[in-house]
């Protein structure tokens, strides 16, 4: 019985075990630098923006959807927020609010295409990815925008004691995400729609409205991630969000959120974010080239999705 219990324990906490093994490997390989306080703070800063973005993606994948526009939302928020502050002299906080509203609106647009028109989520969000990447180029003219209010560093560069504020924002967002999933009616609806959409509709859930809400939340969290990234980087680039959606999807799927919908938890996603963050940081410390990093991350995504699909296949037989 105790062997079975420990087997079950290992099975249900495998993701955290992977994280611990990864930390041990990098700690040994880097001669302890990896687990030094400076590097841990560095990892916290690095994971903060895609940690925040992964919350919205979790909601979307839970209903068996996908949001490929996350990278371009991050880009457009970067460009628009910087443009408002630098070129138009708008107050920092107002610029942030306008940018977040824009990100949410893009999410609503995605929701409309998926829920009302019925375009598959992959195509709809790929289209808006292309559209808003183009819009970001048009606004910035392809040039970086810099020279904004130094107080803007609050979102990405400042720290409260040793703890970076961006990490605090990420933890707060995870707490909100966890509350939505586990304690609110909406969380129940997300799981229900992912589990059996038709039955959810018959039982009284307004599925289309919930889909709008989920894509809007995904846009909002991506927008917040964009603000954190802009604050960290010090200048807005029209290519900054390119490919970020794949890092975010990898974190979410690695964290146990099933691409088939209806299964997953926020704590798993936290583990997924930490694994990808540590992997990226560890590879940088090991001086692994950027291209090799891309290969490794791609393999991790393929393995995570593969395990998910195989487990579904095993269930069916």
């Amino acid at each position: 019985m105790s062997t079975l219990n420990s087997k079950n324990f290992l099975k249900s906490n495998a993701i955290w075990l992977v994280f611990i093994i990864e930390v041990i490997i990098f700690a040994i390989a880097s001669g302890g630098t990896f687990i030094g306080p400076n590097n841990i703070i560095n990892i916290a800063r690095q994971v903060s923006y895609y940690g925040i973005a992964s919350i919205g993606m979790t909601f979307v994948i839970l209903i068996a959807g996908i949001d490929l526009s996350i990278g371009s939302i991050i880009t457009i928020v970067n460009v628009v927020c910087a443009y408002l502050m630098v070129n138009m002299g708008v107050n920092m906080w107002i610029a942030v609010i306008i940018s977040l509203a824009l990100a949410t609106l893009i999410g609503v647009l995605n929701g409309g295409m998926v829920a009302s028109i019925g375009i598959p989520a992959l195509i709809a969000t790929f289209a808006s990815q292309t559209i808003f990447e183009g819009v970001a180029y048009l606004i910035s003219g392809g040039r970086p925008i810099s020279g904004y209010d130094s107080n803007f560093g609050i979102f990405g560069r400042w720290a409260l004691g040793p703890v970076p504020i961006c990490a605090i924002i990420m933890v707060a967002c995870f707490a909100i995400g966890s509350f939505i999933l586990n304690k609110s009616f909406f969380g129940r609806y997300f799981y229900a729609i992912g589990g059996n959409e038709e039955a959810a509709e018959l039982s009284g859930i307004r599925v289309n409205r919930i889909k709008y809400l989920i894509y809007a939340l995904s846009g909002l969290f991506a927008g917040l991630a964009g603000i954190v990234l802009l604050s960290r980087s010090g200048s807005a680039q029209s290519t900054v969000g390119k490919g970020l959606e794949f890092d975010v999807i990898t974190c979410v799927v690695l964290g146990g959120v099933s691409v088939n919908g209806g299964v997953g938890s926020m704590s798993g996603v936290v583990a997924g974010v930490l694994i990808i963050g540590s992997l990226t940081n560890g590879m940088i410390l090991m001086d692994v080239s950027e291209y090799t990093q891309m290969v490794v991350k791609g393999v991790v995504l393929a393995v995570a999705v593969g395990i998910d699909c195989l487990s579904k296949k095993r269930q069916a037989t």
Partner: protein, 198 residues
């Protein structure tokens, strides 16, 4: 053992709530205890007091929501117990020994009706689809998933919450409905049962 009149069978077999109400009104004569109980159950199942205008099926909701809760039981153990307590109240199973024969017979058929309504959605194109909803499930995959869902709702949850006795009537009704939906389902059902007992 209470025998429900044959004429009422169609009421318990119909899945559409509006059609059921029509049949009820057609069949109803002078209100007796049986009809009053049927009316109460109908009202509880299809009426949301907060949004009376909205069509709901609160029992179908159990089939949709509870499997998700079961799959997260590692983190949601307390919520699961609370939800199951609430479910016993809503399904008249808080004290099953106090139910009369007539009430047991009505509830049994009503549970089967809810299970059948759920199973009727399991053939849809999006049910059990994989890879972000892009790959439709095969008929076999759908049957396996439906069986898993019904096992969770009929046995897995009540066992997890330590309420198997209270949910016996519910479990029997769901199991009976599943065996009609897929006569071979018992193999998979037994396997899920064995695995859960390990």
């Amino acid at each position: 053992m209470y025998e429900i009149a044959e004429s009422w069978r169609s009421y318990f077999e119909e899945l559409d709530p509006k059609e059921r109400l029509k049949r009820f009104n057609l069949l109803a004569g002078r209100e007796d205890a049986f009809q009053a109980f049927c009316r109460t159950v109908y009202g509880e199942r299809y009426h949301d007091p907060k949004h009376p205008e909205r069509p709901v099926d609160t029992w179908l909701w159990k089939f949709v929501y509870l499997p998700g809760l079961y799959r997260r039981r590692k983190w949601m153990g307390r919520s699961l117990k609370k939800e199951m307590e609430k479910t016993t109240e809503e399904l008249h199973l808080a004290g099953p020994e106090t139910l009369s024969d007539m009430e047991r017979a009505v509830l049994y058929l009503e549970f089967r009706n809810a299970a059948r309504r759920y199973l009727s959605t399991c053939g849809g194109p999006r049910y059990a689809s994989s890879f972000l909803g892009m790959k439709q499930a095969t008929a076999e995959e759908k049957r396996a998933r439906a069986c898993e869902d019904l096992w969770i709702v009929s046995r897995g949850l009540s066992r997890e919450a330590g309420m198997e006795e209270r949910f016996q009537l519910w479990s029997d009704a769901l199991r009976a409905e599943l065996s009609i939906y897929d006569p071979d389902s018992w193999k998979h059902y037994e396997e899920l049962e064995r695995n859960s007992l390990k």
